[in-house]
């Protein structure tokens, strides 16, 4: 039973990690706590919903599920499109709001408040367009669970979620360590002034950061929708786990956010053995407070949370 919860924790943790990596990337380069990041996940899920239920049927993509999964070609096509769309939304928010505030020299708190405002705007747009109900990507499609050793039941969808998340994270690693832009991103996160001095166009790096952060958030949102359901408040519910994961791993460290995401996911799922599932955000929160008290720089030593 606990082992099963642990495996579900890895599934949930992979999704949290995708969001936390984007959050930590943005923080590392802009020193900005993006309170709207959870709602970027929501945006990804709903763009996915729009594509799968409205747009793609119109252009004739078939709806039959592929293999043992609950989704078909529509979702396969929708996934990258949703990622690109939320990259665009993230860049748009930066251009319209955050960049102007940065140029004015606004304090970190003003930026954070503006992110709260942006999160509200995104959430309200979703509510206006789709209403507040819970939605499934593929209503009525059930796929039986596979049975793994030790009696752990897992759905093929969930295995794929872990696989896709892993693939995205490996791609990100290769990008950050083997491409010029990726290295420049890591350099800018280390020392933005020196990056400028070296001739790196840091504004372009900022755009890349938002694009990648938005794309990963969208991926997390869509994958979560495949696993469970989507609703307009889902992103806000992810906010605490995302921050907990990023802080746990050491804010600004991508590999930290990965590990942190998995840990938080596992902790949340394991907690359901004793607590009601609705307490999961509280579990993430308590975990985060403990980390901040015991080792504020996180596992991999990002910045400390102290004054």
């Amino acid at each position: 039973m606990m082992l099963e919860l642990f495996v579900y924790g890895i599934v949930l943790g992979s999704i949290i990690a995708l969001g936390a990596i984007g959050l930590t990337l943005v923080y590392g380069i802009l020193r900005f706590a993006n309170f709207a990041h959870g709602d970027l996940m929501t945006a990804g899920a709903y763009v996915g919903l729009f594509l799968v239920s409205s747009l793609f049927p119109l252009i004739g993509i078939p709806r039959e599920p592929l293999g043992p999964f609950s989704f078909g070609w529509r979702m396969v096509a929708a996934f990258p499109v949703a990622m690109a769309a939320v990259s665009g939304i993230a860049i748009l928010l930066d251009r319209l709001i955050y960049r102007r505030l940065r140029q004015k020299g606004s304090s970190a708190v003003i930026l954070a408040i503006s992110a709260l405002g942006a999160s509200l705007i995104v959430r309200m747009v979703v509510l206006i367009l789709w209403g507040g109900d819970y939605r499934s990507f593929f209503p009525g499609v059930l796929r039986p669970a596979m049975e793994l050793p030790f009696g752990v039941k897992i759905r093929p969808d969930q295995v794929l979620i872990i696989g896709v998340a892993a693939l995205l994270m490996v791609s990100l690693y290769l990008f950050l360590h083997y491409t010029k832009t990726g290295k420049a991103m890591r350099a800018t996160a280390d020392n933005m002034e020196l990056a400028r001095i070296s001739g790196i166009r840091t504004e372009r790096i900022v755009l890349w950061t938002w694009a990648i952060g938005g794309a990963l958030a969208a991926a997390g949102g869509v994958l979560y929708g495949i696993d469970v359901q989507i609703h307009p408040g889902m992103g806000w519910n992810f906010l605490l786990p995302l921050f907990a994961a990023a802080i746990l791993g050491g804010i600004g460290k991508v590999h930290g956010a990965l590990i942190g995401g998995l840990v938080i996911g596992v902790l949340q799922q394991l907690s359901t053995a004793w607590l009601l599932p609705t307490y999961k955000p509280a579990v993430a929160f308590i975990g985060m407070i403990i980390i901040l008290l015991v080792r504020p720089q996180g596992i991999f030593g990002g910045e400390t949370g102290g004054t």
């Binding site: 010029k180 290295k183 890591r186 350099a187 020392n191 020196l194 990056a195 400028r196 001095i197 001739g199």
Partner: protein
């Protein structure tokens, strides 16, 4: 034609206060020019203004025949000038090689040849090239900082207190490398607290106090000058 001409420059960190109150200097191609003076005289501020981190409020800065006053660092670095700040002058979580690669960021060509040359100037860095710079010693980090700045083949290198915070053995290694860099044809404008060493290796020196020019002259003359000796070189 002089490589760098600075004429009557006023600059500061905010609207109200001017740190530099009308400073002038020249650097000829291939020269080493030192700027010495007491703390707060504006030496670092001068370098930052030349490199475009600060905008000059008055005066001219001409590099290689071109007016560069007011241009930002990203543009100036592409014109053949490089800058090594005093602190936070490396990318700690990147490896030595990656730091150098960042130095070459604006190059479109294959710069592996240049990388080789840098490793010849700094042989210690070659063996450590896949180590994260954050783990290196102070002296080695300073080498990485200078190597990064050299990747673009600059005509002029600005160094802000390269010996600051280093152990004496590391200091002599750093100054040794500076001579080697100059031998390969790079002009150097160096700001230093360690006035004696700086004047010893430089062709020409400027003494700055309170944001203005105080004294100037060939390096050796300033070394022997009594007043300079008393104020800055520690002679009674």
């Amino acid at each position: 034609m002089s490589l760098l001409v600075v004429e009557g420059v006023r600059a500061g960190y905010n609207e109200e206060v001017d740190i530099l109150q009308g400073v002038s200097l020249r650097v000829e191609p291939g020269q080493i020019v030192a700027i010495i003076g007491p703390n707060g005289a504006g030496k670092s501020t001068l370098l930052k203004t030349v490199f475009g981190i600060l905008r000059p409020k008055e005066g001219r800065i001409v590099f290689d025949g071109e007016e560069i006053g007011g241009l930002p660092p990203e543009v100036i670095v592409r014109k053949g000038m490089s800058y090594v700040p005093q602190v936070r002058n490396v990318f700690p979580s990147l490896t030595v090689q990656e730091n150098l690669e960042m130095g070459a960021f604006v190059r479109e060509d294959d710069y592996r040849g240049r990388l080789e040359e840098i490793y010849q100037v700094f042989p210690d860095l070659r063996e450590k090239r896949h180590q994260k710079v954050g783990r290196l010693s102070g002296g080695q980090r300073q080498m990485v900082a200078m190597g990064r700045a050299l990747m673009l083949d600059p005509k002029l290198l600005l160094l802000d207190e390269p010996s600051a915070g280093l152990a004496p053995s590391a200091v002599s290694a750093v100054f040794d490398r500076i001579m080697e860099i100059n031998r390969r044809g790079v002009a150097i404008l160096i700001v230093e607290q360690n006035a004696k060493e700086a004047l010893r290796l430089s062709n020409y020196g400027y003494v700055l106090t309170m944001g203005r020019n105080a004294l100037e002259g060939p390096g050796e003359e300033l070394l022997r000058d009594e007043e300079v000796g008393r104020l800055y070189l520690g002679r009674g």
